[in-house]
Subunit: 250 residues, 4 copies
């Protein structure tokens, strides 16, 4: 039995250093590397790719709307054709660093507002599906489990991987509880690990009202920018591997 | 007998449109496409690459210092390691568009202040030579004829192509007459064509004081952003081909 | 009898030159100067302000969403507090250049997508109204005639000036015909001048279906970036002044 | 007896938070606020200015070369006219926030590479001196003690304040020991406080080779981005005030 654990990385920029990328790499199997539009600069991209390649991680591009000041967290109404070219620009740049490190681009996971906008839109999901097929049919698209993107990928025979958010509560419909509400985020590492183990074994998670939910997810998303990110990553890794589940991006 | 003619292209940005790229493509054999740091955006890059691929041009990356406002024309003191990553970012992005268009990256030609800084510096010439070798030994580096870069490429067995500037006057030492001086630029298309033909046949150009100069150049650089760029390109193309010289990037 | 004519200016950026600012200044009474977020750079801002001050124009700030690549034409979901700070940054910068030129900031006119978003939103209209009051109650806010912004300004005793778009067709409800439709834009200078004269005299314009519309507008907006912008500006200026209407920003 | 203590502030940017601005404000008398070119965004600028105004600090603009990625630490060859417009843009924007907070712009201190380039160049020192005079003769220019800028300001009757760097070692000629060398930076808070007290009382500092140096400095520069910045600030503040020296920006 095995499952993938992914984490956003390479989010530093110039003088600004964030995250604990190198330490976290021992407890995950794949990473999503910022491409300079919401975070990351060429030096950070190159270093993060090189470290991830050494650790044997599945390396993914993490493209975004062009908005460093907003960290890619706000939606922009960009024509689909132009957005496609912007995403390609970012993905191609990252792919170059990955190949130079002797590895292959493993997946693409859109970032922030772009992630959410694609999840809900058939036009945008088709756009990114075309782009993935165009670059290489071996590349996996990582997105919201149960989203429009999942359906589009399924109909186009594109590899899709839905995400289970380890530290987020779900409502009864299977949506994430908004960050504006209390209890949106779970912060206790042991609790997160327990919940993740249950999900990994059963494909099920309890909603915030304790209703069992089935999630079609094959990768566990953890976050690297909290003060207890490292403790959480270790707890999940230890709990899963002790239960005989291997952490693997393939 | 054959020679290459190159021209900078893809220099529009968003709302700002400059150059006559599509028209000029019939009179050149290779182009240097801006990569977003001094000019160009992903839409412009993609369109320019696609058009150039259809015309069968040798497509090159035209990386720059990060300075859209200064059009890459001012020197920046960037650590070599960081500059290398910045150039890779640009080249990889362009290379992606080129491969998507079914073509191959043909060459790299640094832009503006970066071109001049590399031409004079052994450290920077080694940096870009390493980068070329690293990406692919089939890629040609285009630079200043007789520069430090030429020597570095020669010692490292890297394909190097020196440039003859069709519309610029040279001094007796073989350097370009500074743009701050009168007669730095030649504007008459017929005169430029004549001068280029002589160079193509003999490898020689007359300096501004009428001294014959030997130039080790195998590509003719023309400019696409003047009001008479198209007339000049046509005159050169017609004059050379009528004399039996084929325009060819290989 | 008198009316104001306004035009967007200072939209060049670095190497990219657009518009005919200096020539147009003789035929308008006020100008809206880009502040670096969608167009304009500090050099362009300073020069345009200095020229406008010499001509005695009413000088306005033309703030935008931060989007040079999209020329400020696409909406961004930016928290109101942050958007307020962004607009202040732009307005303060321009105000500094205006005061250095011995003039006073006359008005603020939001640009592009920001203009449209503010016109429809009470929250955003209140935000910009607060900002205007805060900077100086003598400053006029220029916006869409009949918009939410007009109502907000009226209730807060803020000077508001609604715009008549000289070269755009209106539908029967008084909205601009979308640029995606035929006949959205009128291009004949004489026709534009006639239509503007009628409006200046009567406050009325004929809709695209020939219905008379009353517009609460006190400034005429002309565009400076078309190939016949100068001819149109001259035609309007001549037609209005010959009819005894003075062009005046006060 | 009194002296000024200044610190760079407002260096966060969007998602990236650095410094301990609010805590440090109790131990300094003036601050230099980033203006968006090397750090800071409009939200950060506005908040930092408002907090500094409440604390009664002397608020200064901290303009830079346009280089967020390099944190303004690398020199750029920008024409003086253009650089002047860029600095004005930044200073005007900050001045607007300061006036909106009910305060007055107290000083201008160039940042990073711009600071060093101005210190050495008569042309650049004249440029910034003109700009200061132009904005208001009440504004102080803060720069390197003993620099070309100091001489230019003296001859033009501009208020100049030279800096004593509390945590940096000096060589026998009065220059800062390069950060590339060991012992360039002093890290012990008590040692820094002692050294600063001696300087405040005598105008003298011991060089790294124990030679006494006379420094024409009237403001003490401390840094806010080290892990022990707060401890150092407290130690200096306490040591000076206990010795009867008041911390005052006037």
């Amino acid at each position: 039995m095995r499952i993938d654990i992914n984490c956003d990385m390479g989010e530093s920029y110039g003088h600004y250093k964030i995250g604990h990328d190198l330490s976290l790499m021992d407890y995950i199997s794949s990473c999503n590397i910022a491409c300079g539009y919401h975070a990351g600069d060429p030096v950070v991209m190159q270093e993060t790719v090189n470290q991830a390649a050494k650790k044997g991680l599945g390396i993914g591009a993490h493209p975004s709307y062009p908005d460093l000041q907003g960290f890619g967290r706000r939606s922009m109404k960009i024509p689909t054709e132009e957005l496609s070219a912007m995403i390609r620009y970012q993905v191609y740049a990252l792919k170059g660093f990955v190949e130079m490190a002797g590895s292959k681009l493993h997946h693409i996971k859109p970032h922030g507002a772009l992630y959410n906008d694609i999840a809900k839109s058939e036009e945008l999901s088709n756009m990114i599906a075309d782009l993935v097929l165009n670059i290489s049919p071996e590349i996996t698209l990582v997105g919201l489990a149960g989203s429009v993107t999942e359906k589009v990928c399924s109909s186009q025979k594109i590899k899709f991987r839905g995400e289970f958010f380890a530290d987020r509560n779900y409502d009864n419909e299977g949506y994430l509880v908004s960050r504006t509400k209390e209890n949106a985020v779970i912060s206790n590492p042991e609790q997160i690990a327990e919940r993740t183990l249950r999900f990994a074994k059963t494909g099920e998670v309890r909603s915030i009202e304790n209703t069992p939910l089935k999630l079609n997810a094959t990768t566990i998303c953890i976050h690297g920018d909290h003060h207890n990110s490292l403790a959480t990553a270790k707890a999940i890794y230890k709990t899963l591997t002790l239960s005989g589940i291997s952490i693997n991006h393939e």
